[in-house]
């Protein structure tokens, strides 16, 4: 994964818990470096280890951490200068959700492929499709080669809603972890 993901995790922990907790998480995760270069690539296992370490240090369930990180990610990415990309994806939450694939397609073109040079996997963007759209409800189908990230997607959708000035209820209706071939999330604007 890109260093920016790990840096986002670092920013979230620093914002809510401070430097000492962050150092404990890095130590527990066995991270050699505690400074991440945002455009560089790091093994996925490092990010997963840090999430696991954060669970142990903070005593919070992984799902809750991932959801919180997903929500934080939207404001963090905007702060880092990627806000216009989100705006490009649409004016409303539903428009943005419909254009998420397009957004990831574009990101795939503009992010360097250092990962492949370092022997890591190349960028593996997730896929999103939208069905059953009504005025205030939509079903988002999320497919990814990475497992266990659906709670983060819930947070991402909540963060996107906040970015658009909306409040939503996101429910995992058919989790992949329960045997479905992909994750389905019902998004309802309140």
């Amino acid at each position: 994964m890109y260093g920016m993901i790990n840096r986002g995790l670092q920013e979230m922990v620093l914002a809510h818990h401070g430097e000492t907790v962050w150092q404990s998480i890095c130590e527990k995760a066995g991270a050699k470096d505690t400074i991440f270069v945002r455009m560089d690539t790091y093994p996925d296992s490092l990010t997963y280890n840090m999430v696991g370490a954060a669970r142990a240090v903070l005593g919070a369930p992984v799902e809750e951490l991932m959801r919180g990180f997903g929500k934080f990610w939207i404001s963090y990415a905007s702060k880092e200068g990627y806000g216009p990309l989100l705006d490009e994806a649409g004016d409303t939450l539903f428009e943005m959700l419909e254009n998420l694939d397009d957004l990831h397609f574009r990101l795939g073109h503009v992010f360097p492929l250092y990962g492949t040079q370092k022997g890591f996997d190349k960028m593996m963007p997730p896929q999103f499709t939208v069905t059953d759209k009504t005025a205030n409800r939509v079903l988002v189908h999320y497919r990814s080669k990475r497992d266990g990230l659906a709670p983060m997607v819930v947070g991402l959708i909540e963060g996107l809603a906040e970015h658009c000035g909306a409040t939503v209820k996101v429910t995992q209706v058919a989790p992949k972890s329960a045997g479905a071939d992909h994750d389905s999330l019902e998004v309802e604007i309140l």
Binding site: M4, I35, V37, R38, M39, E80, G81, Y82, G83, P84, L85, D87, E88, A89, G90, R106, L107, H109, V110, F111, P112
Partner: protein
């Protein structure tokens, strides 16, 4: 089957298509008057009117262009840069094509290096057609900026560490000199004691003999 069109309707369709594909298009006549504008040009330059002379509002920056309409300096493969007189920070870059029938199509884009500059013109990324790579360029430039910021941060950390290391070295050297000085002082003190002890012995022995001899007298 695609219906056949007359030449004039073809020309009109191409005209509209160019405006859609290049929404900053300016169409000029032989007097360099604006005869039409692309939708984005119209939106971000609301003071422009059709029939206005282009050079009332813009000036050529590079390369030099002669005013003879249809001359080589106007044609396609050379990029033209224009700046707006009413907003000197607004620069347009692109190419111009003469259609051979009295119209010059100036296919321009604003020159910007970050999203903020584009947004201050009133243009959002989604206003740009998908074939336009400006939004990708802005993303790449943004990524480069992040890399430069990270390089600067790592350099600052490296300098701080070097300073700390140099201070630790200075302290260590100072301590080493102190230890050396103390050892030298201790060695000198020991040498002095040894000397006094030897001298005491060397003096006392003959003095004892002298003292004993003196008693015989």
């Amino acid at each position: 089957m695609i219906p056949s069109k007359s030449k004039s309707s073809d020309s009109s369709a191409v005209h509209e298509l160019l405006k859609e594909l290049f929404p900053f298009t300016f169409v000029l006549d032989a007097a360099q008057r604006i005869t039409d504008l692309g939708p984005l040009a119209e939106r971000i330059f609301p003071t422009l009117r059709r029939s206005d002379l282009l050079l009332e509002h813009f000036e050529y920056r590079a390369p030099p262009v002669d005013n003879e309409f249809g001359s080589n300096s106007w044609y396609g493969k050379r990029p033209l840069t224009m700046s707006a007189k009413f907003a000197p920070q607004t620069t347009m870059k692109g190419q111009s094509y003469y259609d051979g029938a009295g119209s010059l199509y100036c296919l321009w884009w604003p020159v910007v290096s970050d999203h903020q500059a584009l947004s201050s013109l009133g243009v959002r990324l989604r206003d740009l057609p998908p074939h336009n790579s400006l939004s990708d360029l802005l993303m790449v430039l943004r990524n480069s900026m992040l890399s430069i910021e990270d390089a600067q941060m790592l350099l600052d950390i490296s300098r701080k560490k070097q300073d700390e290391l140099a201070a630790a070295n200075r302290k260590l050297v100072g301590e080493t000199e102190l230890v050396r000085a103390r050892r030298a002082a201790e060695a000198a003190s020991e040498a002095k004691s040894l000397f006094l002890s030897h001298m005491s012995h060397e003096l006392r022995t003959p003095m004892n003999a002298i003292s004993a001899t003196r008693k015989l007298f």
